[in-house]
């Protein structure tokens, strides 16, 4: 028997989500600028997905961070920490003032997520591929406990190069983890260039299908499609779901879009100004 889930948080509408994602994008460029290091490209590409998760999809409570039966999110592509920190801060886990301490000595906002230091971070990540395995453990545990908790995990397309990803994919299907939803931030770029030049990953859909997954393909910047995909993942029984979200690396900042050079580089003062203007707002 379980208590009724608390639903005191008003889910954001698509219109509101767009505003939230815009704020998160501004946070990302400001944070990376302030620390003069970090990863803007892969953070911006995932801003819409994380907005949807944190402000509409997941059953979480920042007032009760360790609430039993909460849904869990794992940022397997841990270098995108800025998008996670901004989402957590804007959802109320800690003050948005903290964001500008990113990567600075003594800050609880480490360069890569640290579950021991940051409220709301469910798993320490940064070494690619590892977070995906951890999410399998979380989903398995929920099954063991008969808990309604759902686990969400965000993967990068470059990250798919790692063998551990496919070991995890195999085990999730083997254990019928229908409470696990993976999202692939399919922006087509890794560090040394386009995926298919560095290490071919396509066809991703057929790979996951053959591993026994339910595959949904969407535009990762379209909130109607994002929300619909999460809904459909929830109602899929017996197999795990992966949402392959076509995205644009650096989305929202013209000079960063589709440019591998902006994977892990901080904007200058002038570039920050242009970026913020393009993202529709002052500082």
């Amino acid at each position: 028997m379980y208590l009724k889930r608390r639903e005191n948080f008003m889910k954001q509408s698509v219109k509101e989500l767009k505003v939230t994602a815009g704020e998160i994008r501004k946070d990302i460029v400001k944070m990376v600028h302030a620390s003069a290091s970090g990863h803007p490209g892969g953070s911006l590409s995932a801003a819409d997905i994380l907005s949807a998760l944190y402000f509409n999809v997941m059953n979480i409570d920042p007032e009760n961070v360790k609430m039993e039966e909460r849904d869990k999110f794992v940022l397997s592509k841990g270098h995108a920490a800025p998008v996670l920190y901004s989402s957590l801060a804007r959802r109320g886990y800690f003050s948005t003032d903290e964001l500008l301490t990113l990567r600075k000595i003594g800050s609880f906002l480490q360069g890569h997520p640290d579950m021991k230091g940051t409220p709301g971070v469910e798993m320490s990540t940064g070494s690619l591929g590892q977070g995906f395995s951890s999410s399998i453990g979380m989903a398995l545990s929920a099954k063991l406990d008969n808990s309604p908790s759902r686990t969400f995990v965000l993967l990068g397309d470059g990250e798919l190069n790692e063998g551990i990803v496919w070991e995890a994919a195999m085990s999730a299907a083997h254990y019928k983890l229908d409470n696990l939803t993976a999202v692939l931030d399919y922006n087509g770029l890794q560090i040394d260039g386009p995926n298919d030049k560095v290490m071919g990953v396509s066809p991703v859909d057929r790979k996951f299908e053959s591993f026994g997954w339910n595959v949904i393909k969407i535009d990762g910047h379209n909130f109607e499609e994002i929300l619909k995909a999460f809904d459909s993942a929830k109602s899929t029984k017996g197999i795990p779901t992966i949402i392959i979200a076509k995205t644009i690396k650096g989305k929202g900042v013209s000079f960063m879009e589709n440019n591998a050079g902006w994977h892990g580089k901080a904007p200058s003062d002038e570039e920050l100004e242009i970026a913020l203007k393009e993202l529709g707002g002052d500082k």
Partner: protein, 343 residues
């Protein structure tokens, strides 16, 4: 102020130079070629460069296969992933069959900086050193990075070298000779020996300079090869000087300090002070802030030595000339009532 160059920069340039001399050299990387500096090799010799994607285990397994066929594979990634993720492949596929693979890991130690604990490899010397057949090298500056890479390529066998991300002072002149397994005494001295490796060699030299000012004679040894370690130089230091201090940008567990202690314990039991990261994870921050916070500075070497000699009878005895172990007051009295010869 001497020139500042990151050892990874020197590595990348040297790789192209040796690539021209030896066409058996093939280079592998794991989606980090701009950071590890293998990118220049990849554009100069595109047919001898293989980007293996973010797949460090497969990269090193592939390197093993290339080596069985007579190639000299040089494989790069961040030290965390080359030594960490691929450990068992390095052990079983490269070192067990003793294949001629050169693992050149960059972004070692705390000075990878803002990426934080998940990317700071402060265990790689320990884990790589424990594998039979594997030579472990840790250059101190740009000149040694270049020359040691040359030695690695011309010497058969599995080898691991670690390079840093941050720019560090150049301490050697171009004509300095390097030999794998043979340390370099960068500064002679009689009282105390600092055995340092990697970027800590420069810190040791700085500390030695300050200590000379107060009349201490400090020997500084660059232990650029952690394995096989230069036992002769360690035993000599243990016998000839009163204290050994080791300094490394690595955990105090299992790295240079442990390697030195293994030698002295067997050959010449000695008091050793180890400077390194004290069994803790690092964190995000600027390289210099981290070195300071975790005690990897010339000041810390200086203070460690000062603290140690305060309790060292012999040095105090020399100062007081009485040979007793009593606390000496400013006027030289030791509180032993004159029985020991103090005034």
């Amino acid at each position: 102020m001497s020139k500042m160059i990151a050892t990874r920069e020197a590595y990348g340039k040297a790789l192209v130079k040796y690539g021209k001399e030896n066409e058996n050299i093939v280079v592998l990387d794991a989606d980090l070629s701009k950071s590890t500096k293998t990118a220049e090799f990849s554009t100069t010799f595109p047919e001898r460069f293989f980007n293996m994607g973010i797949a460090e285990q497969n990269m090193l397994g592939t390197a093993a296969g290339l080596a069985t066929s007579g190639k000299i594979p040089v494989a790069s990634s961040f030290a965390m992933f080359a030594a960490g993720r691929a450990f068992e492949i390095v052990r079983n596929s490269i070192c067990y069959p003793k294949l001629n693979v050169k693992i050149c890991a960059t972004h070692a130690g705390l000075t990878v900086g803002e990426d934080g604990a998940s990317h700071q490899s402060i265990e790689d010397l320990a884990i790589m050193r424990s594998i039979p057949n594997l030579t472990v090298i840790n250059p101190a500056d740009a000149v040694s990075a270049d020359k040691l890479l040359g030695e690695m390529i011309s010497t058969y066998g599995p080898m691991y070298a670690r390079f840093g991300r941050a720019a560090v002072p150049v301490i050697y002149s171009e004509d300095q000779k390097f030999e794998i397994g043979k340390s370099i005494t960068v500064k002679e001295g009689e009282d105390i020996t600092i055995i340092a490796t990697g970027i800590m060699v420069n810190e040791a030299l700085e500390a030695a300079k300050e200590l000379e000012k107060i009349g201490l004679s400090i020997r500084v040894i660059d232990m650029h090869t952690i394995k096989p370690i230069d036992e002769e130089a360690i035993v000599k230091a243990a016998i000839e000087t009163k204290l050994i201090v080791t300094a490394e940008e690595h955990s105090i567990i299992g790295g240079l300090g442990s390697a030195v202690a293994e030698v002295t314990a067997k050959e010449a039991p000695t008091f050793i002070q180890m400077i390194g990261v004290n069994d803790t994870f690092g964190e995000s921050g600027k390289p210099n802030e981290l070195l300071e916070k975790y005690g990897l500075t010339s000041e810390n070497i200086y203070n460690t030595i000062m603290d140690s000699i305060e309790f060292d009878d012999e040095i105090e005895d020399e100062e007081n000339g009485c040979g007793c172990s009593g606390e000496h007051s400013h006027d030289g009295g030791c509180g032993n009532g004159g029985g020991c010869g103090c005034k």
